[in-house]
Amino acid sequence: MIPTLEIKALYKNFGGLEALKDISFNIGRGEIIGLIGPNGAGKTTLFNCVAGIEKPTAGQIILTHGDRTLSIGGKKPEAVTGLGIARTFQNIRLFDNLTVIDNVKIGRHCRTRSVFFGAVIRSKFQQAEEKAISESAYQFLEFVGLKGRGQEIARSMAYGDQRRLEIARALATEPQLLMLDEPAAGMNPQESRDLMDLIRRIRDNGITVLLIEHDMKVVMGVCERVVVINHGEWLAEGLPQDVQNNPKVIEAYLGTGAANAA
């Protein structure tokens, strides 16, 4: 199977700190992959390298785009989004003071074109484009379960709804790979179940999902494969149940004693 994303021997140093060391794994098209590891393992740094916010110190990140493969390590973030990789943030970064619908419409930015003259003259092209932006934005809102909430201000939404809005915005960029950074954080069991359902529906629409998550129920429930990293290094990889029982993984999370007891 042609991988959507190949991460090859990725290194990232911050000054003296080696945040990522020789990380390699692949993500196949249509898979839901979980990326787990203790706090500080380097998961978000990995996301940032893929998304273009950090430049890898060494190694390659290769994206399959259409029928070509592209090395995207070091590309600027807006370019990476354009190539079809969208991400959400651990701390939720919405456009707080804009409406819900505007948040999603901005997600359509990379797939649309008109700038100044279009805005002022309202050419046929621009009008058609605006209509399309609006319609698709409402569709994305409905998809994540926020139908009818378009005019609310993003800042005033409940936490769980804000997460879903951020996902809607990311989906609006029409990604082939969606990277979610701890989407279940702070959610109650019902919300987590709804989230898992949403992730499955996203995958059923042809989007590959890479997921950082600490909530093991979500990881076990929705991920097909799990990659474990610790101290910036690849630790283990495989089916969720196998990884769960891997002594090295248990040791990483709980310490040596627990591994022996397992």
């Binding site: 996301f47 940032n48 916010i53 943030f89 651990q90 701390n91 950074d181």
Partner: protein, 298 residues
């Protein structure tokens, strides 16, 4: 000609350095470009002028007294204009600084009139005029020496204060990390006020020297001098005191040579151009650090 311009450059450069360190110190502790700093420089000149002409004080008394008044002005500026906005976004603080600058300029215009005044030369020591040294066709008067020596002494004093004294260490701590400084028991607000006082005193001293040496003081003199000194601070690396000192001298010399050899009309323009070029090409300046983006919390 060359030596003459060099002497001119070093003289005005020392002055720029004294104003520039004020900008840089304040920026270091509160991350604010104190637009009103130039006005403190201007007030120094006017305070001295007033003390001499109205109160009849001798130069040697008026000078330090004016410096003290400028220090007080600096502290008042901080307490009333900037401190309330400590937690506000930069935009608000910047606008306040500009507003204070305009306010003070016009206040001076009301109090002292907008026309340029000559500095009361009779109050200056008589020997200032006399030539101390003469070489290569250039005459250095005792006044020149006074300025050189005073500038060097003050700069050295500042350097020692920052490096050796408790206050200096506290200033550096606050400049690096306010929260940590507060956690180690430093009274951050007090340190900031102290910084403003120090900056004000030095700026005021520069103002007095310029007014006396060039024999002219006017309410808008702080505007241009302030901008140039800021250019010097940028050149040296904003936040670095030695950088500001060096930047001041370099800028002064560059300006003197530029005005002497290229075009005296664009004398002021040289500073603006230097500043723009430095900011665009080497924002860290000569000694500054380009502050690494603090790790984004994602």
């Amino acid at each position: 000609m060359f030596l003459q311009q060099l002497v001119n450059g070093l003289t005005i450069g020392g002055i720029y350095a004294m104003i520039a360190v004020g900008y840089t110190m304040i920026y270091g502790v509160v991350q604010l470009i104190n637009f009103a700093h130039g006005e403190i420089y201007m007030l120094g000149a006017f305070f001295a002028f007033t003390f001499i002409t109205v109160l009849g004080l001798p130069f040697y008394a008026a000078f330090p007294l004016a410096m003290v008044c400028c220090a007080v002005c600096g502290v008042l500026l901080d307490i009333f204009a900037y401190r309330p906005l400590r937690q506000s976004p930069r935009l608000a603080a910047l606008i306040t600084a500009i507003g204070m600058s305009i306010f003070l300029q016009n206040l001076a215009m009301i109090i002292w009139g907008s026309r340029a005044k000559p500095f009361p030369q009779e109050a200056l020591p008589a020997y200032f005029e006399k030539t101390a040294v003469s070489f290569g066709g250039v005459n250095l008067s005792w006044f020149h020496f006074f300025i050189f020596v005073l500038t060097i002494v003050m700069m050295a004093g500042l350097h020692l204060t920052i490096k050796k004294t408790r206050w200096g260490k506290a200033m550096r701590a606050v400049a690096q990390n306010k929260t940590m400084a507060a956690l180690t028991g430093i009274n951050v607000n007090r340190v900031i006020s102290y910084t403003f006082a120090l900056a004000g005193a030095l700026g005021g001293a520069a103002g007095i020297m310029v007014a006396a040496f060039y024999n002219s003081l006017y309410p808008t003199m702080g505007y241009i001098a302030g901008l140039k000194a800021f250019a010097a601070a940028v050149l040296g690396g904003i936040g670095s005191v030695p950088g500001a000192m060096l930047g001041g001298v370099v800028l002064g010399v560059a300006e003197a040579f530029g005005a002497g050899y290229l075009s005296s009309l664009y004398r002021d323009g040289i500073s603006y151009a230097v500043m723009i070029i430095v900011i665009i090409l080497i924002p860290a300046g000569l000694f500054g650090r380009v502050l690494k983006e603090t790790k984004k919390s994602m």
